[in-house]
Symmetry: C3
Subunit: 345 residues, 3 copies
């Protein structure tokens, strides 16, 4: 698409050659000739001069040099997203209907306009709401309920009796409703399985990434609130409760019965012990190890997790520990010398 036509649609001010043909998109560092790029994060300011892009979207107040066509817009990030839509192929479509290789129990209930792809299995008593799409090779267990307008990508498992709200998106390979990790030891240290009789209940507008695992409750429900976003490879143990609009990055692990408040944010690889409460709006840093309750609105990090500013300061000092030790050693020598001088005096 010609640059001039893109600018026409985005509504910015073009400085440079509008006849150049734009074929793709990329960050300032990765873009090549024929690509359009953008500057939104000030961290990348210096990358403008060296970009190989054919055009760059810049803020209206940007003063620097641009080695190619410049397009001045209100919000370069949003404009880039719009340009991406113009330049990207349309999203992949799935034709509604039941693929003949799908295996669907006679008493399962499918809503209107449902898409059931190849090799999907739907067990007895399961329900799939209107317009939901099960892409391929998915498993929907006995009496599981999937809401309307959901999308399950390939190899997703929704185990028996679990319940999904509306507009839930689950990426490939994720498991909802595997048994919680519960055993009691006998006097020989042999572990005996504790039946996991509960379910997982997922609210509306939830998205879960690839290869995550959400365990069913020991009894009652493991509950994922409305609008929650869960990244790839996350572990949610039995009886965990996640409040509305919480988000958690990849490889987070939440132990059993911990309650996560509304609008909480958990950084990548953070781990939370069991039976804790993380208050509304709290933020947990990446790789943090949370061993006790977290107050609403606070920001904790480190292991064991503590106030983020304290943790940052403590870790900065950690690096200087060898130096501190030397200072203590020097002080000990000085004090020893002072004592001896005093004793002589």
């Amino acid at each position: 698409m010609q640059l001039a036509r893109i600018v026409e649609k985005l509504g910015g001010t073009l400085v440079g050659d509008g006849s150049v043909e734009i074929k793709g998109l990329g960050s300032l560092a990765e873009a090549e000739a024929g690509d359009i790029s953008f500057l939104a994060n000030p961290k990348y300011t210096s990358a403008v001069a060296s970009t190989r892009a054919s055009a760059v979207l810049l803020a209206r107040d940007w003063k620097g040099e641009c080695p190619c066509a410049a397009v001045y817009v209100e919000n370069p990030d949003r404009a880039f997203a719009e340009a991406a839509l113009l330049l990207s192929p349309p999203p992949v479509g799935f034709v509604p209907g039941i693929h003949p290789t799908a295996v669907i129990a006679p008493d399962a209930k499918l809503g209107e306009g449902v898409t059931v792809g190849p090799h999907v299995v739907i067990q007895p008593g399961a329900v799939v709401g209107d317009r939901s799409v099960l892409v391929a090779n998915c498993y929907v267990g006995h009496e599981a309920v999937i809401g309307c307008d959901c999308r399950l990508y390939a190899h997703v498992s929704i185990r028996e009796r679990c319940v999904l709200g509306n507009r839930v998106i689950i990426h490939d390979g994720t498991v909802v409703g595997s048994d919680g990790f519960g055993y009691t030891p006998d006097k020989h240290g042999v572990w005996h399985k504790v039946l996991q009789l509960g379910i997982v209940e997922i609210g509306d507008d939830v998205e879960i990434g690839a290869n995550a695992a959400i365990d069913r409750a020991r009894f009652g429900k493991t509950r994922i609130g409305n609008g929650v976003k869960i990244d790839n490879l996350v572990q949610v143990a039995h009886n965990v409760q996640i409040g509305d609009h919480a988000v958690m990055a990849s490889q987070v692990g939440i132990s059993g019965s911990t309650r996560i408040g509304r609008h909480v944010q958990l950084g990548g690889q953070a781990g939370l012990a069991g039976h804790l409460h993380v208050g509304d709006g709290a933020v947990v840093g990446a790789q943090a190890g949370v061993t006790k309750d977290v107050e609403a609105g606070s920001f904790v990090s480190g292991y064991p997790a503590m106030d983020h500013r304290k943790a940052t300061k403590a870790h900065a000092h950690l690096m200087r520990l060898p130096e501190l030790k030397e200072r203590i050693k020097a002080l000990e020598a000085l004090v020893e010398a002072l004592q001896q001088r005093g004793d002589k005096a």
Copy 2:
């Protein structure tokens, strides 16, 4: 079910209205009207007063107030589990037999009463023992052997020649027998694959969670002992040996050739370096980074993992490092002043 009838079956002492209809179960915090709850962990004592449950199972010696019907029993935890069985729907059943969409090699051997669900693939030379259930979309590789009374949930892969004992349960998406991570670099730093010629051998009564990965040995066996319990998303590298009745929580990672003793417990997200030995009965704390052998019966935590009490003390001090630094600074000033005073004297 009426509360009186539940109490009749559990054998406790009821104080309150036995005619109330109990429909579900929940923790003290989550239970709603119509639910029965319980108090076992003293941590939740204060939650009794504010529960919305219609009945609570309490220890016989409990003295507090209860805002609803109270049922006094020997062991509230066990009684709650029994109540859960009474109130839960029966476990899901799979009708024995071979689903017509399963693809089974002609020379594969299936025992009596085996269930092979839809879209399961069983390769040549594989064996499945009596009464084992392969739920759906499972993959059983060439010459793999699965014992009796096993259950493989959807999307489980058992790769070629791996061997499972009896009564093994594997949850959805777990992979047994993927290649170990072995490469040798040439002088240009290009990595060349080292063939992974061994297998995985799993003992009896093992349970493995969802989306875990157990690698086959370089040669010989990666071995999981009897009664071992492995949680979701755990990584077991090639040639690892896990002793009987060891348990490991979610997202644990064990590097190549490390040997885990009997009855060892590994906390969530713990990581173990390769070629180590963890002695029988040792406990490794959550998120610990184990870089050397762990003695039998010891409890280690932290990074690098050390004696748990030492680690806890060290980490507690870590938070006070900035304060310690200030104290050193103050001492230095004082000693400097003392020296000057001494010099003058």
Copy 3:
């Protein structure tokens, strides 16, 4: 196979009974009667005396006692690998051809000698190169491109429009091209999905372990270079760029837009924040938490990651923090006493 025949093929010097029948292989600790073992890592020197193996491969200059037949060779590690090939069953073979249960879009293009196993799904517009093997239950999305001589094990998902080079191996359950984790909050803290319009592009000779997740780019490409090796359960976020011949161990997590240089090595469970640059040849230790750029050729570890030697020293001191605190306390008392003495003087 008789030991003498193995020695004949490997070319070493045999001291002991060559007529013993060798049936298997194992490490010095695990080998049993009938097995051959080897000593390459000096750490295991003491294990020779107690091995139950029937034969051990030893370096030519080895001087110790051997309780069984000894075979002296140039390189015991390599000789053992050769012995493993002699003693192992041949690799599993897949007969080329399209399994009748595979569901392949009419306009998908399959090269010569392609193997498409049972229950594989190939969507419209996809391409599979010559001699590639899709073992079973794999999913290849719309317009995805798979090169020549690739192998995808069971339950692998290659999502729409992603591109794989030649000789790529992907183990069971891994997902390539799931949506990146991108949302923007509105003023109510409700998260709105940012469309992920890009793809994943994977170079030649890449191997990816089981149950890993590689996210598609927000726009443009998440790029995995040539010869890269990725272990099980690794997370690669959107727009990450991985240089040629980089390797990363299990459970590593790389956040969005981070660029990993050529020949970089990432240890198990290491986590990298977003928008960072890790220079060529850098090494990141296991469990490290990388929060800023890493220089080419450097070795960092710990949290937050710093120079490895500094980190090791700092962590060693961490364990001695309680002792340091005691020393500060003692100094404070001494200085206080000195001051009082001075005041009196």
